[in-house]
């Protein structure tokens, strides 16, 4: 209980208190500036850009991870020969350190001789600058993040799909439902608790993404991959502007809380518990 208080509850509160000051970490004294840090953020165009980047990154990772995870789970659901192996391979990226695989991906995205551009040239497409271009850096980071998280979402859906009673599908077949109808009328509603859970957890994870951004782009070029957490990191541990950093942290907490509340509210409407 003590460590939990020390490293969870107390910091959360303390973080908010620091956000009301102009503390620079080194000096022992500080002034209380009340909401100045927040006002500065609201006025700062960089902060607006960061909010937009965070939204882009979050939607760009959460939606493909969830949709892809469900489709993969449907593919490997039946206990046919070799499915265990497919599941293992599809899940394997999740186990590996983001820092190390992000390094491997930076080599794949290398603009001149990287294999990503070689694949593009196969289709007659011009090579991209990837992490060197402010348009393509974010998609590159998103690709790595989705690659790493897909298998993880798949495992959750596998568990959910196994819990669906088979007689529901039989009943739907008797009613003359085709494959697509069964998918949208039976499968999707019945795995909705998992979708709901995954969307919250993946959103929180997207807000916490740091490793791949630090390795691949350091928030650049021109701030195009700087998300809220990255801004937080730069403010706190590069500029030592603790007031600004903790204000950003409060914004992150606020967004997560609001999302959780909205999602819980919505869940009453569209989540079907059995």
């Amino acid at each position: 209980m003590i460590p939990l208080t020390l490293f969870w509850f107390y910091p959360m509160l303390n973080s908010f208190l620091i956000s009301l000051t102009d503390w620079d970490y080194i000096s022992p004294t500080y002034n209380i500036v009340w909401l100045d840090n927040y006002m500065n953020l609201i006025r700062d165009p960089i902060f607006h850009e960061v909010l937009w980047n965070t939204l882009y990154f979050t939607l760009g990772t959460v939606i493909p991870t969830i949709v892809g995870g469900l489709l993969l789970a449907l593919l490997v659901l039946k206990n046919q020969q070799g499915m265990g192996m497919f599941r293992t391979i599809l899940f394997s990226p999740w186990v590996t350190p983001t820092v190390a695989v992000a390094i491997v991906w930076s080599w794949i995205f290398e603009p001149e001789t990287g294999i990503a551009n070689w694949v593009l040239s196969f289709f007659g497409l011009p090579g991209l600058e990837w992490t060197g271009s402010s348009t393509w850096a974010m998609p590159a980071v998103i690709i790595v993040t989705v690659w790493k998280g897909l298998g993880w979402a798949m495992i959750f859906y596998l568990n959910a799909l196994k819990r669906i009673p088979t007689d529901l599908f039989e009943a739907a077949s008797i009613d003359g439902a085709g494959g697509f109808q069964k998918f949208f009328r039976v499968t999707v509603p019945l795995v909705s608790p998992t979708t709901f859970f995954l969307s919250i957890i993946s959103t929180v994870q997207a807000l916490e993404a740091y490793d791949q951004i630090q390795v691949m782009t350091q928030g650049g070029p021109a701030g195009s991959t700087r998300t809220l957490l990255y801004l937080f990191y730069q403010a706190a541990f590069e500029e030592f502007n603790m007031g600004k950093a903790t204000a950003v942290a409060t914004v992150i907490i606020l967004i997560t809380s609001i999302l959780s509340i909205i999602q819980f509210g919505l869940s009453r409407k569209w989540v079907h518990y059995q």
Binding site: F9, T88, I89, S92, P97, W147, F156, N159, L207, S257
Partner: protein, 281 residues
């Protein structure tokens, strides 16, 4: 009937082809990592890239291993991760035991607080936790990393869920026999819920081994660095000046492979334990 059998047959084949293709796509970065690690410096800069190295440079692995103290980094990671997992298991089990076996005031509020904090990003705690570690003189120490990770909210949930599955009568019987809480927890609940403990231990170990941002804030001296920091430092040095991609890929390989091997051996525990059932309150 025959047409139908033919149809389902070709669907199955199509599914296998699709799965093989997708698995290849997912696994390709690892293959590419090894292939690149075995190339010469000239070969790696060829375009179009060659899929297989012409003359595998096995010594790249040895060279990379010797350029930076990867053995030390790896030891640091495995050591701190192991201690953290042990502490998380003990603290998680005790908390879960308290939540399932004791009636105390504010139990539900406390649990809701913990549940809520599971949803909040850890990053929000970094500045105050950092300051706190500074006050205790724990920056740049193993103790700092270990203490600040000693409790896992995820672990409390998972174990609480497992303990709830154990029949109440068993615990009552043990109490009548005069067992202490400590004995009930470790002699009875622990063996009964061993698979959950194993799953949690493995997942947490992997997370701690892979952890990067928080340790890199705490640890500054070279000889205490974790493997994730070590590989990033190596990448910055070699990638920045020498562009030693083959060595970088070789180094990435021995950072990634221990985990892949661990995963292959223990995949059942990973896969069965990751389940949202454990999260429902």
């Amino acid at each position: 009937m025959n047409a139908k059998a033919w149809w389902t047959g070709s669907i199955t084949i199509g599914k296998y082809l699709l799965l093989t293709f997708l698995s290849f796509l997912m696994f390709f970065p690892f293959l590419w990592m090894i292939s690149s690690a075995l190339k010469t410096k000239d070969e790696i800069w060829q375009f179009p890239p060659s899929l297989l190295p012409e003359n595998p440079q096995w010594h790249n692995f040895l060279d990379a291993w010797n350029v930076a103290p990867f053995g030390l980094y790896m030891f640091n990671s495995v050591f701190t991760a192991a201690v953290i997992v042990l502490l998380q298991i003990i603290s998680g089990a005790m908390m879960a035991y308290a939540f399932t076996q004791f009636q105390f005031r504010g139990r539900n509020i406390l649990f809701a607080l913990i549940l809520g904090s599971y949803m909040l990003p850890v990053a929000a705690t970094y500045v105050p936790s950092y300051v706190l570690l500074g006050k205790f003189q724990l920056l740049d120490t193993y103790t700092g990393i270990i203490v600040s990770n000693a409790v896992s909210v995820f672990g409390i949930f998972l174990l609480r869920q497992a303990f709830l599955q154990v029949p109440k009568e068993l615990i009552e019987a043990a109490k009548l026999d005069g067992s202490s809480h400590w004995q009930i927890l470790w002699k009875m609940l622990f063996p009964l819920t061993l698979p959950t403990f194993a799953t949690f231990g493995l997942i947490s170990f992997v997370q701690m081994y892979n952890n990067y941002l928080w340790p890199s804030l705490i640890i500054k001296s070279e000889e205490k660095m974790l493997i994730t920091q070590g590989i990033q430092k190596f990448f910055m040095q070699e990638g920045g000046y020498g562009m030693q991609w083959p060595l970088i890929m070789a180094a990435s390989s021995f950072v990634v492979f221990p985990l892949l091997i661990l995963f292959v051996f223990a995949q059942k525990s990973f896969v069965s334990g990751i389940n949202d059932q454990g999260i429902k309150g």
